[in-house]
Symmetry: C2
Subunit: 240 residues, 2 copies
């Protein structure tokens, strides 16, 4: 390795630092009726993730489904998925969703004792297309504490600007172990739309408040490719 | 009136355009135990508002309380307050709160048939110090429709950046009658803190998306004076 000179910083140069690809398998919304290719059973999920892993994805963002295809937070399903991924995708970072579509209250964190590498963590509330995405302060604090207890790295899901501030505050007072890993989510109806100026302000704000943080951009639906492009060009990681 | 020349715009020059002072009497949180000067009964509220009106306040942002001092959305109380304010503060703009601390669901809009000049309207959800400030999409749409039906001008309460986008979207598709009047609220714990760069970005974003909008800055607690200063200097209105 050549020594770093004063005026080059290979780590922060978007052209040379590594970009982490995170693959969101399954999600909590689409069904086989929407798209027969959506992997729903644990074995379908493992097969699909392995393809993504071989194509270069480094993080698997995981939801699980019940037998009837509806989202669940069932720890037993998460355990089977984790086992399969560890076997078929050795070295891949496993991230469990603690999102609110798959359960309510503490059930959302019931799989954290399985000690996945990472788990998603919403630190604020916002609107979704037809309802409130409820992340009350005490639930947020409990999920964060569970992640510390089980040595799980949170991926902060920032659906709005204040969520970045909240994550930085929680890292500052020890509720989250740093450095932060923040995902900017854009394109969910009734939450933050896909907007270039906001994206740039998100990046600048995180850099200002938490210079050692890493971040990733996730565009929902039609915004996915755009967020991939913006994120890669701006030196972030991205979600496919 | 002298004709406007090309390179002066007296309307948008912060130094010369009028600044609207909005006085928030009572609010929903403080009690007589916190501060004996808090006006709680309707007659105390009228007296206190009249002092503010004579001192130059143009908008009265109104909450009402039940006999035991707890917040309520009781239309009968709002009616008595409105009558008294119309008598003692002729020409003052009366704005009712439809905020979630004073009631739940449709009760929050039960006073809108009284046709106040304005009413507050939250268009998104966010966290408050100990709970979720829940403004589900269907409730937001219903409150907005009630305001159109009763010719009430909404003051959009922006507790986060996406709320500005949501207000602009609602004005664009006719759910809100323009031009928008948006209040930037900063300093509520677990929501958006007082931050100068965010304040500037709020102002710039609203100007970009809705050039004809008016806005007002409200700092909670220790941030109040700061937001007053920033707002007045930036050509906005402000809340005391
Ligand atoms: Zn997810
Ligand atoms: Zn990610
Ligand atoms: Zn209020
Ligand atoms: Zn105001």
């Amino acid at each position: 390795m050549t020594p770093k000179t004063d005026d080059t910083d290979t780590v922060s140069d978007p052209a040379t630092r590594p970009c982490i690809l995170c693959v969101a398998i399954t999600g909590s919304v689409p069904t086989k009726a929407d798209n027969p290719a959506v992997p729903v059973t644990v074995s379908e999920q493992i097969e699909s993730t392995q393809e993504a892993f071989e194509a270069g994805a480094a993080i698997a963002h995981c939801h699980v489904r019940a037998d009837d295809g509806t989202p669940t937070s069932d720890p037993e399903r998460f355990a089977r998925l984790k086992e399969g991924l560890e076997r078929h995708c050795p070295g891949m970072i496993i991230q469990f969703s603690t999102g609110g579509r798959s359960g309510a209250g503490a059930a959302r964190g019931g799989m954290l004792p399985l000690r996945p590498d990472m788990a998603s963590l919403a630190v604020g509330s916002n609107n979704f297309p037809t309802r409130v995405y409820e992340n009350p302060p005490d639930l947020v604090d409990w999920l964060a504490a569970e992640m510390i207890a089980h040595d799980v790295k949170p991926e902060i899901e920032a659906f709005d600007l204040s969520h970045i501030f909240q994550a930085v505050k929680m890292a500052g007072d020890g509720r989250i172990r740093g450095p932060l890993y923040v995902q900017f989510v854009m394109g969910v109806r009734n939450a933050m739309p896909v907007d270039r100026a906001v994206f740039d302000f998100y990046v600048a704000t995180l850099r200002r408040l938490a210079p050692d943080a890493e971040w990733c951009g996730a565009g929902i639906g039609a915004g996915q490719i755009l967020l991939n492009e913006w994120s890669i060009a701006a030196g972030g990681h991205t979600r496919t």
